[in-house]
Symmetry: C2
């Protein structure tokens, strides 16, 4: 049985200074939570690693969890959003460009639970000329966008 | 740039009673942390949902994070282990069978960072007759095992 959906989001080309600033990264998480109507359980955990390191944030949600890690030294921010209830898609690319200066955002979607099994699922990407589907593959779906490619976001 | 590896582990057929027991689920996380030499930052967050619900555990690690959700009503436990340093493989199947009574364990491996992009990575599964590789696919790798199939764990 499928018990949820997880979004794995990798944002490249972000501003190193923004990625070191917990308050700036927290804004992204706050937007995700507010826009999707997620409910936080307890206090989120945040940790600032010593320079040149970034920050980590973890939110326990009634819907599962949201995790964020930033890597200023490589301009990268990664997010995991795991929801055990259907949720609409968040505008990851648009918001990560605006809030963290990302130049490229990859969103992968993984079903959790029985749909994760390799017996009847798929692995799909939609990114310019790289478009393919493998019928027997697990339930991963990937989207990559950068400033030069058209992009289509799939609503869930 | 690749900034880490994430293991997405879905264990099916677990004992509902064990999945409702924070102490039992905590043992799994404690084993993962001890065996892989992970370092916990602050206090882990644990939450027990009202029956028939399960539990959620979140650990902030210097290596990134470990998250666990259980769904007793469907016999499912899911784990995310995100490590920004190379780590050996944990014996997910063996330990989840022993500790939670899992009958089937799926382990998917996702590279985080630039290797997540769809331009040159792969999506692979190794599970009995379902074996395939798609050269242009994103960096997901999946393993499924159940009591009737041979299993090979890839060391990272």
């Amino acid at each position: 049985m499928n018990v949820g959906t997880e979004w794995l989001v990798d944002a490249e080309g972000c501003s190193a200074e923004l990625l070191r600033d917990i308050d700036e990264v927290r804004v992204v998480c706050a937007e995700v939570i507010a826009e999707l109507g997620l409910r936080v359980v307890g206090e989120p955990m945040w940790h600032q690693f010593p320079r040149p390191g970034g920050v980590t944030g973890l939110y326990l949600l009634t819907e599962s969890h949201l995790a964020c890690h930033t890597f200023p030294e490589t301009g990268l921010a990664t997010f995991n959003l795991y929801c055990c209830r259907p949720r609409p898609a968040f505008a990851w690319e648009e918001r990560l460009r605006a809030l963290l200066g990302a130049s490229r955002v990859t969103v992968r979607i993984a079903a959790r639970g029985a749909e994760a099994e390799a017996r009847g699922a798929e692995c799909e990407t939609r990114a310019g000329q790289y478009s393919a589907k493998l019928e027997i593959q697990p339930s991963f779906e990937s989207e990559v966008s950068d400033s030069t490619s058209a992009r289509e976001v799939s609503g869930l």
